[in-house]
C-alpha cells in the first residue's frame, strides 16, 4: 500500500465541503421537491435513490472479494436484476399493501399483516437492528480505512487528534435528523433525503466508472490487456470463473443470488426507498430496467480494477483498498481524492437512509410502545418525535461504537454478507404473508426465529471462531466432537461453501418453520375487552349525563383530541376530516350510518396513526379508547340484522346481475371478435394493447406481431407528425377521429381504409388510450368507380337516344322524298339509290342506338334452346353461303329447355353467330355452335377460326361504340351482354390458338320467384 498523499486537515476540509454540499442539495430537494415532481424528475430520483443498494461494500468490498475469490459477488447484483422482471407485480403489490395500511417498515408490515401480537414487530425490529448495525459500522469503517489510506493514520495537525469517523457520524446524524426526522409521519415524501441520496448514487457511479477507465486505460492498455496479463498467472486464472474448487463456486453464487433477490426490497434502506417513498406506481416501470442498468454499470470495472491491483503487485488481502491504492501508486492526487469521495458518498448515503429507516423502526416498534406502556405521561406528539429522532441518533452512534470497538478485522465483504443473510430471514414471512392467505403470526414468529437461529449457528459462530472468541475445533470437529453439527457443514449436507451452507439452512428452516407454524398454530383471538383496560390505554375523562353512555365512552371531540395528541398537527386535518364526516352523518339523523362509521373509526384511525407511531403503538392507543355505548350497540345490532336480511337478497341479485354482465361481456367479446372490421385498442402512447380476429385478417398479421406495436405500424404514407396528431386527438382531446387512411398490411401490400376512433378512460376518468375501428374500403371504392362509370354511360345513352329519336323522323322524310324523286326523274335513279342506301344504314345505327338505350322487358317462357339456336343459324345461312363459311350446330339429342325470352335469346345468338361468320376467313371459314348442358343451365359456345382477338380487344369488346370493323356502330356485343345479363347469365370470350370462342351461359331457371317479366 503506497504512503499517504494528503494532509489529514486537507482531506477533512474536502469532506466538510462535500458534506455541506450534500446538505445544500438535501435542503434544495426538500424545498423544491414538488417542483421536481412537476417536471417528472421524481421518477429518476426514485430510481437513483434506490442506488443506495450499492454502498461502500460495493465500492471497496466487491473489489476485494473479486481479488480473492473471483466473480461470485456479481450474483448479488444479477439476482435482483433477473427478478426485476416481476417487480411490476410483486413490488407493486407490496407498495399497495403498505400504502393502504400506512406501513413504514418491515416490522410494521409484519405487525399489520399478521396482527394480534405486538411481539412480532418488536422481534423483527430487534433482529433487523442486530443484522444492520454491523453494516452501518462497516460504512463508517470504510470511511476510516479510506481516510487512513489517503491521509495516514496520523494525518497531522488538528486531524491527527480526531477520529474521522466521529465527525462524519455526527454530521450524518444531523443530516438524518434534519431531513428524515422532520415529521413523525413517515409516509410523507422525504424530498431532502431522496434527492441527496440520488445525487450520491450518481456521484459514486461516475467516480467508479472514471476510476475503472483510469485503471484500465491509464495504467494498462485496456481491459483486454489487463485480462491477458492476469491470465498468464495460473493462480489468478481461477478468478476468471466459478468452476475452480478452491474458489467459492456455484454454491456461493446461488446463495448470493437468493439473498439479493429478497434483500433488494427488505434491507431497511431499500424498503424505505423502494416501498415507503414510492410516490407513483408507474415509477416501478422505470426502476425495473434502470436500476438493473445502474447495477450493471457500477460493476463494469470491478473485475478489471481487482486484476489491475493484483498485477501492480498489491496484496489480494488488501483488495478492499485497490481502487484507492492504484491512483495513489500512480501518484495521481486528483483521482485519489475523487475515489476517496466516491467511497465516502457510497458510505454516507447508506448511513443516512439506514439510520432514518432503522431509527423509525426502533422508535415505532420498541421505544414508543415502551413509552406508552410505561405511562410516564409522554403521550404528546413532541415527545414521540423526540423519541424517533433519538432512535435515529442511537442507531448511528451504535454503528459508530461498533466500528470503533470492533477488534475482529474482518473484510468488508464478510460483514456485509452476514448482514445480508440476516435480513433475508424476513423473506418467507413477508412474501409468504403477501401471497399466502394461510400465513399466521405463529408461523412468522417460528420461521423468523428458526431462520435467525440457523443464521447465528452457521454464520456468527464461525465468525466468532475466526475472531478468536471460540475454539477452532468447533468448526473442524463440530460442537462436542459431533461432526454432523459442524456449523459450516451442518448435518453433513456437503454444500461446501460456508455462505451457501448458511443461506441454505437458515432459509430452509425458516420456510419450514413459517409453513409449519402457520398450519399448526391457530391464530389467537385477542380478548382485549375481557382482559380489562391495558396500562398503555390513554385516559379519557368520564362523560356525565349521557344516557346509557357508559363511564368511559369518549365523544368524537375526545377522540380527535387524543389522536391529534399522538399524530400532531401533521395529521390534524386528516383526523378532523374523519371526525367531521361522522358528525355530519349524525347531524343528518342517520343514526345507523353514523354508528357503522363509528365502528370503522378504529380502523381508519389506526391507519392514520400507523404512519406516525407504528402499527403496535397505534393498535395499543386505540384498543381501549373506542368502546361503544349501549344505545349505539343496540342500534348496531338492529342494523346488522337488517343488513343480514338485505345481504341475503342482495347476494342473490348480485349473483344474477353478475351472470347477466358476464353473459353480456361474452356476447360483446364474441361480436367484437367475429366482425370483419379490425378493432384495435391502443394505450395512451399509441401502442397496441388488444386486437380482434378481424384485425389479423385485415392487416395480415398475427396477434402477437401486432400487440405492443405502434399505431404507425398499421398506416402507410402518412407523415409521422400526422400520425402523432391522430393518436393525441384520439386519446386526449375529444377522443373522436374519423378519416380515410392507407392501411399497411403485414405482407407489404396496402389498401384504402376508414378509421374511426373512440377514447378509453381509466377509473379516474383520465386518458388511458383509444380504440380504433379499421374498415377496408377496397370493395366500396371499386363499386363507387363502377357507379361513376355507369352514370357516365347512362347519361351518354340518354343523350344518344334523344339524338337518335330526333334523327329518325327527318330520315323517314328523306327516304320518302327520295322515292318520290326517283319516280319523277329517271336520270337521277342511281344517285337517289346511293342516298337511300346511306339513309338505310343511318336507320340501322339509329335503331341499334335506340335498342341499346331503351328499357327491355323480358317475356320469359320455356323454350328449347337447341331449336332457337338452329333457327338463328338458319336465318344466317344465306350470308354464310355467300361468304363460303361452313356453319355447324351440335346439340344434345334431348330438348335443352330453359326459362328465357325466346326472341331476345335468338337476337343474342344471331348477333354472335353473325359476328363469327364475319370474322371467319372467306372461303375456308368454319363456325361451330355447340350446346352443352351444365349444372343448372346451358352453355352455347360459338367457335370460329377467324384471326382472333388481342387482349385489348377482349377487354373493350363489350364497351359501347367500340368496334374493330370498318362498318359497324359497336353496339352489337354490348347489347348481347345486356340481354344475357338480363337473363341472369354470363357471356365470355376466349381467344387463342387460331380459335375464338364466345360462351353464352344461361341458367335454366333464372330469377326463381321473381316473376315472369323483367
Amino acid at each position: 500500500m503506497p504512503g499517504p498523499l494528503f494532509e489529514g486537515s486537507l482531506v477533512l476540509a474536502v469532506v466538510t465541503g462535500y458534506l455541506l454540499l450534500l446538505f445544500g442539495i438535501g435542503y434544495l430537494g426538500e424545498r423544491k421537491y414538488d417542483a421536481l415532481r412537476g417536471r417528472g424528475l421524481d421518477r429518476y430520483i426514485y430510481v437513483f435513490s434506490a442506488g443506495v443498494y450499492c454502498t461502500s461494500w460495493t465500492f471497496y468490498g466487491c473489489i476485494g472479494n473479486a481479488a480473492q475469490t473471483g466473480p461470485s459477488f456479481l450474483a448479488l447484483f444479477i439476482g435482483p436484476s433477473v427478478f426485476a422482471l416481476s417487480w411490476w407485480t410483486v413490488l407493486r403489490k407490496m407498495i399497495r399493501f403498505c400504502r393502504t395500511h400506512n406501513v413504514t417498515s418491515v416490522p410494521d408490515l409484519l405487525s399489520v399483516r399478521y396482527g394480534g401480537t405486538p411481539w412480532l414487530g418488536a422481534l423483527a425490529t430487534l433482529f433487523l437492528v442486530i443484522g444492520s448495525v454491523p453494516y452501518i459500522s462497516l460504512q463508517l469503517r470504510a470511511v476510516a480505512v479510506s481516510y487512513d489510506a489517503i491521509a495516514g493514520s496520523a494525518g497531522g495537525g488538528l486531524a491527527a487528534a480526531v477520529d474521522p469517523m466521529l465527525p462524519v457520524a455526527l454530521f450524518l446524524a444531523a443530516f438524518a435528523l434534519f431531513f428524515g426526522g422532520r415529521y413523525l409521519d413517515f409516509t410523507r415524501p422525504q424530498g431532502g433525503v431522496l434527492t441527496a441520496v440520488a445525487t450520491e448514487s450518481v456521484i459514486k457511479l461516475v467516480i467508479l466508472l472514471a476510476a475503472g477507465m483510469f485503471v484500465s486505460y491509464g495504467m494498462f492498455g485496456g481491459i483486454g490487456d489487463i485480462y491477458s496479463r492476469a491470465l498468464a498467472h495460473p493462480e489468478w486464472r481461477k478468478l476468471t470463473g466459478l468452476s475452480d474448487a478452491a474458489g467459492n463456486g456455484y454454491a456461493r453464487w446461488t446463495a448470493y443470488f437468493a439473498i439479493a433477490v429478497i434483500d433488494v426490497f427488505l434491507l431497511p434502506r431499500q424498503f424505505h426507498v423502494f416501498v415507503v417513498q414510492n410516490g407513483d406506481e408507474s415509477h416501478i416501470k422505470t426502476a425495473m430496467w434502470m436500476f438493473p442498468l445502474y447495477l450493471l454499470l457500477i460493476n463494469l470495472f470491478i473485475l478489471p480494477i481487482a486484476f489491475g491491483g493484483l498485477l501492480l503487485g498489491l496484496s489480494a488481502a488488501s483488495g478492499d483498498k485497490f481502487i484507492l491504492a492504484i491512483p495513489m501508486l500512480a501518484g495521481n492526487r486528483g483521482m485519489s481524492l475523487l475515489v476517496f469521495l466516491g467511497g465516502f458518498s457510497a458510505a454516507t448515503a447508506m448511513i443516512v437512509v439506514s439510520s432514518v429507516a432503522l431509527g423509525k423502526m426502533v422508535a415505532n416498534n420498541l421505544v414508543i410502545p415502551a413509552i406508552l406502556w410505561a405511562r410516564k405521561g409522554f403521550h404528546a406528539y413532541g415527545y414521540l418525535l423526540a423519541a424517533t429522532r433519538a432512535s435515529m441518533l442511537a442507531v448511528i452512534l451504535l454503528g459508530y461504537l461498533y466500528a470503533r470497538e470492533m477488534s475482529y478485522n474482518a473484510a468488508l465483504m464478510e460483514i456485509g454478507v452476514i448482514s445480508f443473510v440476516a435480513v433475508a430471514q424476513f423473506g418467507p414471512s413477508v412474501f409468504g404473508g403477501l401471497y399466502w392467505k394461510g400465513g399466521t403470526a405463529g408461523g412468522a414468529v417460528l420461521g423468523i426465529c428458526a431462520g435467525f437461529a440457523a443464521w447465528f449457528y452457521t454464520m456468527i459462530l464461525p465468525a466468532a471462531v475466526k475472531a478468536g472468541f471460540l475454539d477452532p475445533a468447533i468448526l473442524a470437529d463440530g460442537p462436542f466432537g459431533v461432526a454432523l453439527l459442524r456449523p459450516t457443514d451442518f448435518l453433513g449436507a456437503g454444500i461446501g461453501d460456508p455462505v451457501g451452507n448458511a443461506v441454505f439452512w437458515s432459509l430452509f428452516l425458516n420456510l419450514i418453520g413459517f409453513v409449519a407454524g402457520s398450519l399448526l398454530v391457530a391464530p389467537r383471538i385477542v380478548k382485549a375487552r375481557e382482559e380489562g383496560p391495558r396500562s398503555d390505554a390513554p385516559w379519557v375523562a368520564p362523560r356525565t349525563g349521557t344516557p346509557e353512555g357508559g363511564g368511559h365512552y369518549p365523544s368524537l371531540e375526545d377522540i380527535e383530541a387524543v389522536v391529534t395528541r399522538y399524530a400532531g398537527r401533521e395529521k390534524e386535518k386528516e383526523v378532523g376530516e374523519v371526525v367531521r364526516e361522522i358528525r355530519e352523518i349524525k347531524s343528518r339523523g342517520e343514526t345507523r350510518e353514523a354508528v357503522i362509521r363509528q365502528m370503522e373509526l378504529p380502523v381508519r384511525l389506526e391507519r392514520i396513526l400507523t404512519g406516525s407511531i407504528g402499527a403496535i403503538a397505534a393498535r395499543n392507543v386505540l384498543r381501549d379508547m373506542l368502546p361503544i355505548a349501549l344505545a349505539d350497540a343496540r342500534t348496531l345490532v338492529a342494523s346488522f340484522r337488517e343488513m343480514e336480511k338485505d345481504l341475503a337478497t342482495t347476494r342473490e341479485t348480485v349473483s344474477h346481475k353478475e351472470e347477466e354482465i358476464l353473459a353480456r361481456e361474452r356476447l360483446l367479446a364474441s361480436v367484437v371478435h367475429s366482425i370483419d372490421d379490425g378493432i384495435v385498442a391502443f394505450d395512451a402512447k399509441g401502442r397496441i394493447t388488444a386486437v380482434n380476429e378481424g384485425s389479423c385478417r385485415l392487416f395480415r398479421r398475427s396477434e402477437s406481431a401486432m400487440i405492443g406495436g405502434d399505431f404507425h405500424l398499421l398506416i402507410r404514407d402518412t407523415p409521422y407528425r400526422e400520425k402523432q396528431r391522430i393518436v393525441a386527438r384520439a386519446t386526449y382531446r375529444n377522443g373522436r377521429w374519423r378519416g380515410e387512411v392507407e392501411i399497411l398490411r403485414g405482407d407489404g401490400s396496402h389498401a384504402p381504409g376508414l378509421v374511426s376512433t373512440a377514447r378509453i378512460t381509466d377509473k379516474a376518468g383520465g386518458a388511458a388510450g383509444f380504440v380504433a375501428s379499421f374498415k377496408d374500403l377496397t370493395e366500396l371504392k371499386a363499386m363507387q368507380n363502377k357507379m361513376v362509370q355507369s352514370e357516365k354511360l347512362a347519361s351518354l345513352g340518354q343523350m344518344a337516344a334523344g339524338v337518335a329519336h330526333e334523327i329518325r323522323t327527318p330520315l323517314g322524310s328523306i327516304k320518302m322524298s327520295t322515292r318520290l324523286l326517283g319516280d319523277r326523274d329517271a336520270d337521277a335513279v342511281e344517285v337517289i339509290g346511293t342516298i337511300r342506301e346511306a339513309v338505310s344504314s343511318m336507320e340501322v345505327i339509329v335503331n341499334e342506338l335506340l335498342e341499346y338505350t331503351r328499357e327491355i322487358a323480358l317475356h320469359l317462357d320455356e323454350y328449347d334452346l337447341a331449336k332457337i339456336t338452329r333457327s338463328a343459324v338458319f336465318g344466317l345461312e344465306e350470308e354464310a353461303l355467300r361468304k363460303g363459311v361452313l356453319v355447324s350446330v351440335t346439340a344434345p339429342p334431348v330438348p335443352c329447355t330453359a326459362l328465357v325470352d325466346g326472341i331476345r335469346v335468338k337476337q343474342v345468338l344471331t348477333n354472335v353467330v353473325k359476328n363469327a361468320i364475319e370474322a371467319a376467313p372467306e372461303g375456308s371459314g368454319t363456325v361451330h355452335v355447340t350446346l352443352t348442358e351444365r349444372e343448372g343451365g346451358v352453355r352455347i359456345a360459338v367457335e370460329d377460326n377467324g384471326p382472333g382477338m388481342s387482349g385489348e380487344e377482349l377487354e373493350k369488346v363489350f364497351q359501347p361504340f367500340y368496334t374493330s370493323k370498318a362498318q359497324g356502330v359497336g353496339l352489337g356485343m354490348p347489347i348481347v351482354k345486356r340481354l344475357v345479363e338480363l337473363h341472369d347469365g354470363e357471356v365470355r370470350i376466349v381467344s387463342g390458338g387460331g380459335v375464338t370462342t364466345v360462351c353464352v351461359d344461361l341458367p335454366r331457371y333464372p330469377f326463381a320467384g321473381a316473376g315472369g317479366v323483367r
Binding site: 436484476s81 411490476w88 466459478l242 425495473m288 430496467w289 450493471l296
Partner: protein
Amino acid sequence: MGGDASLKAWILFFLAVFSWPFLGVLDIPLTILGVPTFHAAVFLLWALLVYALHTAGRRARE
C-alpha cells in the same frame, strides 16, 4: 402467449441462464476480445436482461 405467461417464461429463461449448469458451460479457458468468456458472457447476458426489462416495463399493463 399472453403477457404474464411470457414474463414468467423470461424469468425462467434468465434464471436458467444465470445458474449452474448453464454458467458452467461458459466457464471455459477462452477469451472474447481478450476478456475471459465467463466475464464477457455474464455482462452480455446482463445487458440483454436490461433490454428485456425495458421491453417488459413498456408493455406492463395496469
